[in-house]
C-alpha cells in the first residue's frame, strides 16, 4: 500500500513539473509586452528597455523558468509586474470567492444528482424515470452562463428578490454575502448536478444487477432502503472518480460564472491579467488551479485504496 501511494505521489510530482513547463511556454508565447502596458503612451525605447531589465523579462527564457519554478518550490509564486504585489497576496482574497462558489456548487450538485440519479436508475423502465433522465440531458445541454443570465433575468431583473451580481465579503455582511451567492451557485450547481445525475444513474444501474442487491431485496428490504444501505457504498467508488474529474469542469465553469455575476474571484482576475499581459500573475494563478486539480485527483486515487480493500495489492 505504501509503495502504491509513493508511486502515485511520484506521478503527481511529474505531472506538476510537466504542467509548469507547459504553462510557462504557453504564457511566454503570448504576443505582447508588459513594459509598454505599464508605461503607457509616450514611453521611450530607453525607458522600455530599463523597465524590462528591472522586471527581468529581458533574460533568456530557461533562466526565467528556473527562477519562477524555484521560487514556487519555496512558496513564492512571483510578483505582479503591474502593481508589484505578490501573486499570493493577490490570490488570497480572490480565492475565498471562488472557494465558496465551487464548494457550494459541488454540494448543490450532489444534493441534486444523488436522489435524481438513484430515482432515475430505479424507475428506468417507467415514464417518470425517463423524465428524470431527460431533464438531466436538457440540463447538460444548457451552458452555465446562459443559465446564469436566465436566473438573473427572472430573480433579479423580474422579481427583484436577489441582487443581479456582485459580491460582499462574509465578514462585512453575512446576509448580503449569502444573497449574492445564491444565483451563481444555482447556475453552476444545477448544471453540474445535471451532469452528475447521469453518472449516478449508471453507477446505480450497475448496482441493481449485483447479486448482493438481489439478496437484500430477497430478505425483504425495500428497494429504496437496499439502495441507500448497499448501493450508495458500492456506487461511491465510481462517483468519487467522477467527482474528482468534475472539479476541473466546475473550476472552468466558475470562471464563466464569475464573469457573468461580476464576482471578484480567480476567474475574473485571470481574464483581467491576461488582457493586461501581467504574465507572472497569469502563470501563478493557472499553476495554482492546475495544482489543485492534480492534487485532488491524486487524493481520489489514494482514496480508492481506502474505500476498496481489493485494490490494496496482492503482495501485502
Amino acid at each position: 500500500m505504501i509503495r502504491r501511494v509513493g508511486a502515485r505521489l511520484g506521478i503527481l510530482a511529474a505531472s506538476l513539473l510537466a504542467a509548469s513547463v507547459l504553462i510557462f511556454v504557453v504564457c511566454s508565447a503570448l504576443p505582447g509586452d508588459v513594459a509598454s502596458v505599464i508605461l503607457g503612451e509616450g514611453a521611450t525605447p530607453d525607458q522600455l528597455a530599463t523597465l524590462r531589465h528591472q522586471l527581468g523579462t529581458d533574460r533568456p527564457l530557461p533562466v526565467q523558468y528556473l527562477s519562477w519554478a524555484s521560487g514556487m518550490l519555496q512558496g513564492d509564486f512571483g510578483r505582479s509586474y503591474l502593481s508589484g504585489d505578490s501573486v499570493a497576496s493577490l490570490l488570497g482574497p480572490r480565492l475565498a470567492v471562488t472557494f465558496w462558489l465551487v464548494t457550494f456548487s459541488l454540494i448543490l450538485a450532489l444534493l441534486v444528482a444523488l436522489p435524481t440519479g438513484m430515482y432515475a436508475a430505479l424507475r428506468r423502465r417507467h415514464w417518470d424515470g425517463f423524465i428524470a433522465t431527460a431533464l438531466a440531458q436538457i440540463g447538460m445541454a444548457i451552458p452555465a452562463f446562459w443559465a446564469g443570465l436566465l436566473l438573473v433575468a427572472v430573480f433579479a431583473v423580474g422579481l427583484h428578490w436577489l441582487p443581479a451580481n456582485g459580491y460582499v465579503p462574509f465578514a462585512e455582511d453575512p446576509g448580503s454575502w449569502a444573497a449574492h451567492l445564491v444565483l451563481p451557485v444555482l447556475a453552476l450547481g444545477l448544471i453540474q448536478g445535471a451532469m452528475l445525475t447521469r453518472y449516478v444513474r449508471s453507477a446505480f444501474i450497475d448496482v441493481l444487477n449485483e447479486d448482493y442487491f438481489r439478496t437484500a431485496r430477497a430478505v425483504g428490504w425495500t428497494q429504496g432502503r437496499a439502495m441507500v444501505r448497499h448501493g450508495l457504498r458500492n456506487a461511491s467508488l465510481s462517483l468519487v472518480t467522477v467527482l474528482g474529474l468534475q472539479l476541473s469542469s466546475v473550476l472552468v465553469g466558475a470562471i464563466v460564472i464569475e464573469s457573468v455575476f461580476a464576482l471578484p474571484g480567480l476567474g475574473t482576475m485571470l481574464l483581467q491579467v491576461v488582457t493586461q499581459h501581467d504574465l507572472q500573475v497569469v502563470q501563478g494563478t493557472v499553476m495554482f488551479l492546475v495544482a489543485v486539480v492534480l492534487v485532488v485527483n491524486a487524493l481520489v486515487d489514494v482514496s480508492y485504496l481506502i474505500i476498496d480493500p481489493r485494490l490494496r495489492g496482492e503482495r501485502e
Binding site: 509586452d33 509598454s36 441582487p163 451580481n165 456582485g166 464573469s259 461580476a262
Partner: protein
C-alpha cells in the same frame, strides 16, 4: 432488531433534513434583515474599468481620475460640464503680461478632509511630489515640463513661473497634474485618502469596487450622499443586468449602444447622450508606401460613408467630426463635411494617384467600436477596389505591442479619449508616424502664443491642415451614453474631463 434500525435510520434522515431546513431558514432570515436601522444615503455607480492604483498620479489609466478627480481630490482650477474654466481651490488667478507667471489666490475656507488648511505650501509640496516621485506617469511629466518654479509667498498665494508661455498648461492644471495633496498624508497617497474634496475614499475591494464616504467637514457645499460606490464590471451584460435589477443608480458609460433599448422605459430611466473627448480615429501608418500618397488617403476618406457607419456601428449615437477635435474643445472648427462621401470621386482620385494599391492590413484592437468599424471600412474600401484584411488584436497588450510599438499595420482604428490630443499628430515617432513639419511648427507656435485669441486661431488652422492632408479619417465622436434612474439629477451629459463629477448630483 431490524425494526429498531429502521426507526433509527429514518430518524437520522429526518434530523438531517431538519438541520438543512434550519440552515436555509437562517440564511433567508439573514438575507431579509439586511436593511440597516439608520438610513444611509447610498449612491451606486456602475463602471467598466477599474483603477490600477489609488494614487492617480502613478497610473496612466483614466479609471483612477474618474473616481478621484473633483470628488476626492481637488485642483486649483477646474473644467465644468460645458468645458469652461472655473475656480476651485483658487478663488481667482492673475496671469502676467508675458504669459509666464500665474498667481493663484487660494480660497481661505478650503481645508483638507483631515482638517488641515489648504495653503500655498501644500500646492508647492504636491508639485514637488509629482516631479520627484519616480512613479509619476510619463504623461504628467510631459505636462509639467514647462514649469520653472513654484513658490508660496504666503498661505493664501501660490505662484507658478513657466519657462515659456503655454496655453495648454493651465488646462493641464484642471486635471491630474493640478491635484493638491494633503501635506500630512502626501507620502501615503496610494493607501490613504489625502484630498480636500466632498468625499474621501475608504475602501478598495480589488476586482469589485471603490467606496467613497462623505467628508463631513467639507469646506464647500455639503455632499448629498453618505456613501458612494463605484462598482466595476468586465462584462457589459452584467452591468446592464445590475441596472435593470435596481442595484445601480447610474451606468457611467454604456459600452454597447444597442443595449440602450433595455432602458427605454422613461418612467424608470433617463438616458443622457452627451459629448466626450473621444475621437474614433482611423489612423494610417504613414510609413506604408501606398499611404504616403495624399490622394490615396483622400480617396479612402471619401469612400467611407461616415453617417451610415455611425448608424451601423454605434446605433446612430455619436457625432460626425472631420478633424482631431470635438465640439467641446474651445478651438473646435466644424470640418465634419469638409471631405464628403463620394464613391465616384474616390475612384477617380485613386486612379489619378497612379499608386498600385497593395492589400491593406486593417489591424484593430478587439473592442466593439473598432471591430465593427473595421468591417464597415473594409467593405467600403472594397467598393473602390482596395483589397483589405482585418485582424482583431487583444487589447491592450497585443495591440500596443504590434501596432503601437512595432508599427506592424497599414490602418488601425482607436478612440483617442485624451482631452486636447491634436498635438499627437505633431509627434513623428507616435504610432501613425505622421511627419508634417508645417503642422509641427503650427502646434509649437500655438502653445506659446501670448494671447488666447492667437492660440485659438492657430489651433483652428491646425485642424484644417490635418483635414486637408487627410492625415487620418475621423470616423465619429464617441458619445457619452449615461443611463440613470430617473430620480437622479444634476449629472452633466458631457464627459469633457476625466472626472465622474459627483458634486452636483442628487436623487429625488
Amino acid at each position: 432488531m431490524t425494526h429498531t434500525t429502521k426507526v433509527e435510520g429514518r430518524s437520522r434522515w429526518q434530523r438531517l433534513l431538519l438541520a438543512g431546513l434550519v440552515a436555509m431558514g437562517l440564511l433567508t432570515a439573514a438575507a431579509c434583515t439586511q436593511q440597516p436601522t439608520v438610513t444611509v444615503k447610498k449612491f451606486v455607480i456602475g463602471a467598466s474599468a477599474e483603477p490600477a492604483s489609488m494614487d492617480v498620479t502613478t497610473s496612466p489609466s483614466a479609471a483612477g481620475p474618474q473616481v478621484m478627480l473633483y470628488n476626492v481630490y481637488e485642483t486649483l482650477v477646474r473644467i465644468d460640464g460645458d468645458g469652461k474654466m472655473r475656480p476651485m481651490l483658487a478663488q481667482s488667478w492673475d496671469i502676467s503680461a508675458d504669459g509666464r507667471v500665474y498667481t493663484f489666490h487660494i480660497n481661505p475656507a478650503a481645508t483638507f478632509a483631515s482638517g488641515t488648511k489648504v495653503t500655498g505650501s501644500a500646492v508647492v509640496k504636491s508639485q514637488d511630489k509629482l516631479r520627484s516621485d519616480a512613479a509619476t506617469t510619463t504623461v504628467l511629466r510631459t505636462q509639467l515640463a514647462d514649469v520653472a518654479t513654484v513658490t508660496a509667498p504666503d498661505d493664501a498665494t501660490v505662484v507658478f513661473t513657466l519657462k515659456n508661455p503655454s496655453q495648454n498648461w493651465l488646462y493641464y492644471m484642471t486635471s491630474t497634474a493640478g491635484i493638491v495633496f494633503d501635506p500630512t498624508l502626501i507620502g501615503e497617497a496610494a493607501t490613504k485618502s489625502a484630498g480636500s474634496g466632498p468625499y474621501a475614499w475608504t475602501a478598495w475591494n480589488k476586482g469589485s469596487s471603490v467606496v467613497l464616504t462623505k467628508n463631513a467637514k467639507y469646506w464647500g457645499t455639503a455632499p448629498r450622499f453618505d456613501e458612494v460606490t463605484f462598482r466595476y464590471f468586465t462584462d457589459a451584460n452584467a452591468l446592464n443586468a445590475a441596472m435593470l435589477a435596481g442595484d445601480l443608480d447610474v451606468i457611467s458609460n454604456v459600452q454597447a449602444p444597442e443595449a440602450l433599448s433595455q432602458f427605454s422605459d422613461t418612467s424608470k430611466y433617463t438616458v443622457l447622450d452627451g459629448a466626450t473627448n473621444g475621437e474614433v480615429t482611423m489612423g494610417f501608418n504613414h510609413q506604408s508606401p501606398a499611404l504616403q500618397n495624399q490622394n490615396v488617403r483622400k480617396a479612402i476618406t471619401m469612400a467611407i460613408d461616415r453617417a451610415a457607419l455611425i448608424k451601423t456601428v454605434w446605433a446612430g449615437k455619436g457625432q460626425l467630426i472631420g478633424s482631431m477635435a470635438v465640439p467641446t474643445d474651445p478651438y473646435y472648427v466644424d470640418l465634419a463635411n469638409a471631405v464628403p462621401f463620394n464613391v465616384a470621386e474616390a475612384k477617380a482620385l485613386l486612379a489619378s494617384s497612379g499608386v498600385a494599391m497593395p492589400t491593406l492590413r486593417i489591424r484593430v484592437p478587439a473592442l466593439a467600436y473598432a471591430t465593427k468599424s473595421a468591417q464597415f471600412v473594409a467593405s467600403a474600401l472594397n467598393e473602390i477596389g482596395i483589397k483589405t484584411t482585418v485582424d482583431e488584436l487583444p487589447f491592450p497588450a497585443t495591440w500596443l505591442d504590434q501596432v503601437y510599438k512595432n508599427g506592424d499595420y497599414d490602418i488601425t482604428i482607436v478612440a483617442h479619449v485624451e482631452p486636447r490630443d491634436i498635438n499627437k499628430f505633431a509627434d513623428p515617432t507616435y504610432y501613425w508616424h505622421y511627419n508634417n513639419p508645417a503642422f509641427q511648427a503650427l502646434i509649437a507656435k500655438a502653445d506659446t502664443e501670448p494671447t488666447e485669441a492667437a492660440w485659438l486661431a492657430d489651433m483652428a488652422d491646425a485642424q484644417k491642415v490635418l483635414t486637408d492632408d487627410a492625415a487620418a479619417v475621423w470616423l465619429f465622436m464617441l458619445p457619452n451614453l449615461v443611463v440613470t434612474k430617473n430620480t437622479v439629477t444634476g449629472l452633466s451629459p458631457n464627459a469633457v474631463t476625466l472626472s465622474f463629477d459627483l458634486t452636483g448630483v442628487a436623487r429625488r
